[in-house]
Symmetry: C3
């Protein structure tokens, strides 16, 4: 039998000992666990960032993988810890909406539990580090084969983040930036499948981008050119070939994007 | 039998090939080793940072784990390489004090050896990269089951870092910041267990923090508020809810902290 | 039999979901793969940086390791994906020169294939994320034991980066910075083996470094002093003991280095 996979996604950074403590606790509960770092560079308290990140990461993992998500500004407060089974994945996450985008497209509703059974937690639980004291030992026990129903009761209430929806206005599509990646590419909420023809022009934050070409990939233009294209997540993206659109356009999450004349 | 765990803690960063070389050498000696990254973001030459980090990380690992610590400004000079057995952990580290805080609270003295047996090293040892040439192959052999006494002689002399001690002054507790975490939380050397009642006020660097509340967790206040609380390491911490106390207060390691009127 | 090792080297950073997606796809193809992060902090589109990095990292790994390299500004364009067998390693990389320095010193020519067999790819291949859609599944299948010749035809044409060569001028050696490491050490293209005696003086960008000593290791001088020495890769390096030569000298890749009077 394969040793179980447990992934980790946090906003802990790597200069602090928090990731290390989580790993130690998991391995102390289940020394066979295979730990996979997804990211410890989610921006601090970046629940929205985590939501996009998880939607583009979790679906690629083998069925049965346990995912530990600790982006948790509400730690120690009223928010629940959730154990979610969906699309074959098993996810531990704070109930703050960080799973919204992962769950949104799924054809069947997830099975969601509130993690309440303290017998699986560390004997002493701090009020500021549930990653170490609750998430890690629960992930360890889950990976040992403890049935999800042992960790707490089902719930059908959990936090969803609001998401701005792209919309059509005449021949235009209008949306906004929902994620800025490591390269400074601006990823919008406009599904590329709704673009029926190359836009006549592209507006970012209300200004027309001069010379922005609609392309298939970055390498279709010389380095430094502005382009719009289909992102690897199937969304419209504004980028600078071998550069940063974030810096060039001083844009970020929430910046308006308009594709003028892209619909028939 | 379980494949052995070897953790890595360095100040190498991830843009340089040094972490990769260490991993390659370990796996060439013991292809079964399971490598666990603790951090490669210890600040360059940050021995004091590493000392705090290791104290909050190593104790959580299963007994028998091998820990490789390479924060080593003295590489190639007179400093020894130590192999330390303590609290069930086995640690390879330069003799520069980086294990001070890990070892301090232990009830029994550690077994400490100087790593001198060159037959376990790489055949050619550079004077600037002992991580690759000494620590990595020794960790590999240790994880293969070579007995610690094979690597060098016992010693009872090793470097300890001085640590500022918190102290009581009348009804106050006085200490200083000893660690700043990734979130900008200021962690002091004041044991939270010595706080007998919520302080009347809190001074940082000699100035009273207006409106700083003593709380149980960050979520007890609205985002942006200054708080003081018990850190996950059991020390008094000054933080900004969903913000950075480091930036807000322009404080850092060594900044004075005073809890006024917290003792009966 | 040992579970196969697959290393990852990318410029993806860790704030984006790209590394996670690559890991998920590999593990979905081969759930037994053992993933080893080498770096996700190669500078964006830093092909030259990757070339130095890989030369100092790959040779240390056990024979048979699969290395996935995705520093790929040409993604989706005409550049090929290569599968290279060399020095016992198996490397998947874009054909952009990033393997130049790894391959240069090898005594026997590598076996190089163009990855063309789409049956090993993800069913739908994006034009901007071949790491996920081609490299990851090919690495997974390779690690499962699929023979390299299944992935595509042999080629003897691939991109090599130009490399500036150090040269002798009278009693001097003249070269330039080819890599700046995480500590700000300036690593030149001058082989330390060509230095016959300590240089009389050292010039960086045409200016003599006052007080720069030729030493064996950083710890030979007090912190803050400029030194020149043999790097762990056997090249001449200019450094500041416990400091950053990059910052002190405002130098970088391409900065001229002259060792005056170091040859007999």
């Amino acid at each position: 039998m394969l040793d179980p996979l447990i992934t980790l996604t946090t906003d802990f950074g790597e200069d602090s000992p928090y990731v290390a403590a989580v790993k130690g606790v998991i391995l102390s509960v289940n020394p066979r666990a295979r730990l996979i770092d997804l990211s410890h560079q989610i921006p601090p308290q970046g629940v929205g960032h985590a939501a996009f990140f998880l939607a583009e990461a979790l679906p690629y993992f083998p069925a049965g993988t346990v995912h530990v998500v600790v982006v948790d500004p509400g730690v120690g407060g009223e928010r629940a810890v959730l154990l979610v089974e969906a699309a074959g994945q098993r996810v531990l996450a704070p109930d703050n909406g960080c799973l919204t985008e992962f769950l949104r497209p799924l054809p069947t509703p997830p099975v969601v539990r509130r993690v309440t059974e303290a017998r699986f937690w560390r004997p002493s639980v701090s009020s500021t580090f549930h990653g170490r004291d609750i998430f890690a030992p629960v992930a360890g026990h889950l990976s040992l084969g403890v049935s999800p129903d042992q960790f707490g009761p089902l719930t059908d209430s959990w936090v969803r983040l609001e998401r701005p929806e792209a919309c059509a206005e005449g021949a235009d599509l209008v949306g906004e930036v929902v994620f800025v990646d490591h390269f400074g590419n601006l990823i919008s909420n406009i599904p590329a499948g709704r673009v029926e023809r190359p836009p006549e022009r592209i507006e970012v934050a209300g200004s027309v981008l001069p010379d922005c070409r609609w392309v298939r990939t970055y390498a279709d233009v010389e380095p430094g050119r502005l382009v719009a294209l289909t992102s690897s997540a199937g969304l419209v993206e504004v980028a600078v070939a071998q550069g940063s659109a974030e810096e060039r356009l001083r844009a970020g999450v929430g910046t308006a994007i308009r594709l003028v004349g892209c619909r028939r």
